[in-house]
């Protein structure tokens, strides 16, 4: 996994609540057996005017000029500003893969769906929960100031605006540690291999029917 330490980037506002993972990456792209290459199809049904299928040359498709990701002022954005319950629905990890492949590293929202939130951390994507009021304020600022950027510092757990003011955010200590160091969860868990074996042996004795 790619490390996340600090990021300075353009913010794009996506002003809709309950954005589901079907919208983030539609089902036809889930047929891929790879982990990469989903970026061009992020928000496919909103971003393009035609129907997307795997294998199409996306540079030749007609884009929807009214979709916020296509506005010239937000090109190159790496921070997504969103509304509540972002990432609800399907558990597809293709959603954080697509966001990351597009170039996003941070998502700011008042709340996230649990599975999406969890999947993001496994892919170097930092979801940050802020209060509804702060999110409202950020929407106002981003929409009124062209070229609006934020600076995110995971170690310090701060978001710094261009005027130097900062917002503190909370993050789980274990997830922060993994993200800062780009650690592989499986490697960490296997350090407990003896404990897993001991637990399993005991369970096999107590509940043998689980091991048939």
């Amino acid at each position: 996994m790619e490390k996340f330490t600090t990021l300075d980037g353009i913010v794009v506002p996506l002003d809709r609540a309950n954005i589901d993972t079907d919208a983030i990456i539609p089902k036809q792209f889930l047929k891929s057996i790879k982990r990469s290459g989903f970026g061009p199809n992020l928000f496919d049904e909103w971003r393009y005017l035609d129907h997307g299928e795997p294998g199409m040359d996306n540079t030749q498709r007609s884009v929807n000029p009214d979709f916020v990701l296509n506005y010239p002022r937000y090109q190159g954005a790496s921070i997504l500003l969103a509304r509540k319950n972002f990432g609800c629905g399907s558990s597809r990890e293709h959603a954080p893969w697509a966001l990351e492949d597009y170039g996003f590293r941070v998502i700011l929202a008042p709340s996230f769906a649990d599975i999406f939130f969890n999947n993001s951390f496994k892919n170097g994507l930092l979801p940050i929960v802020l209060s509804e009021d702060l999110i409202d304020q950020l929407f106002t600022e981003v929409e009124s100031q062209e070229g609006y950027r934020l600076n995110i510092d995971l170690e310090k757990q701060t978001i710094t605006k261009a005027d130097g003011s900062t917002i503190a955010f909370a993050v789980d200590a274990f997830r922060k540690h993994c993200l800062l160091n780009g650690l592989d969860d499986i490697g960490l868990t296997l350090q407990h291999a003896d404990a897993i074996t001991a637990y399993e042996n005991n369970r096999r004795k107590q509940s043998p029917w689980l091991f048939q």
């Binding site: 919208a23 049904e45 609800c88």
Partner: protein, 470 residues
Amino acid sequence: MAARTLYDKLWDDHVVHQDDDGTALLYIDRHLVHEVTSPQAFEGLRLAGRKPWRTSSVLASPDHNVPTTDRSLGIADEVSRIQVETLDQNCSEFGITEFKMDDIRQGIVHVIGPEEGATLPGMTVVCGDSHTSTHGAFGALAFGIGTSEVEHVLATQCLIQKKSSNMLVKVNGNLPVGITGKDVVLAIIGKIGTAGGTGYAIEFAGEGIEDLSLEGRMSLCNMAIEAGARAGMVAVDAKTIDYVRGRPYAPKGDDWDKAVQYWQTLHSDEGAVFDAVVELDAQDIQPQVTWGTSPEMVVTIDGKVPDPLNEPDPVKKEGMLRAIEYMGLEANTPITDIRPDKVFIGSCTNSRIEDLRAAAAIARGRKVADNIKLAMVVPGSGLVKQQAEQEGLDTIFIAAGFEWREPGCSMCLAMNADRLEPGERCASTSNRNFEGRQGQGGRTHLVSPAMAAAAAISGHFVDSRKLSVE
């Protein structure tokens, strides 16, 4: 020991190791695998030179991409075919049991797990699929995971987890006749919202839940995720034990007695504390129909499409306006005036034998209305299909004008060839009415199997109880 909830008990029984900050390693008893969310996980194992920790815990079947029409020709779509073949190759390489496309036991993973007795009370059950919450119906801790976690479970038999909070959803009193698990869960989602359960494990309890069969409880727990909760569950009772008895993977002999003794402890203790409690009166639950693009956008069959002008919250109002436009509806339209183009009976929510019986009871001796372009029934597994055919349900459906298909996820998410065309409206027994879920531009109304069949027969939504045989 202090009084514990069912979730507390299931959690405590599976903790292998816990850090001071509450981060735990949780042992996984059963891992269900399908073709969509597993290829990258197996590839990860190969790249790291790892092997699955315990192959006997894994059960696989292709379900999302499989055709529901004649399978003798294989899968026409090449990308879908490669994904299914990749699952076959991975299972064969790593020694994992797989019910392949031509196996009578093949089906939707959330149907075949319980059907085989591979889902048992007291287990932790995971799958790279959000509807894994289904298995909580058995007093199991079951939840969906992402592909990185699929790889993690394969490699370590564990997951790194933090415990959720406890929520109790209590349905007081007995359910009215004709009200199903689907109606109950849609009513709950309508009450608490699609994020109402976020951060919680939900236990469903009360007479209204006890009234439900195990299959009804599966429909209920299946959609816990649509209320935001990764896990939903119901305490073990006599119905649970009866359902499990004699299934291929269920314990036998002395093991059975020992297992039952343990399973009977799988309920919340008297006085156990929940972080949140929601109560509903069963008598108030009527047949439900969603009108919008989120499962929380739901009303009763005698209701109307709501008017966004009456919504004070600006974000919610914007969502309602957008949903009404997408759905091609107008505010204040009676639900019974809405006319579907297609009807889909199937999915991990509603494709079990009782679901098919309920739909067939409405379809029997009647005809699908002229305005319905396609009405299809997709059983959840090959064994459900076989059972239905033994009962003659296929004949009833076909005579009424329904198509009788092969098992799979089908038009719940339209990864195979079954889908809505732009603008088409569907009465569907599936679980998500998101934009484009059943095909780009498609419009989904979620209902129970009896309600879907009634809409097919009437050509518009109608209270299925009016069509029930007296």
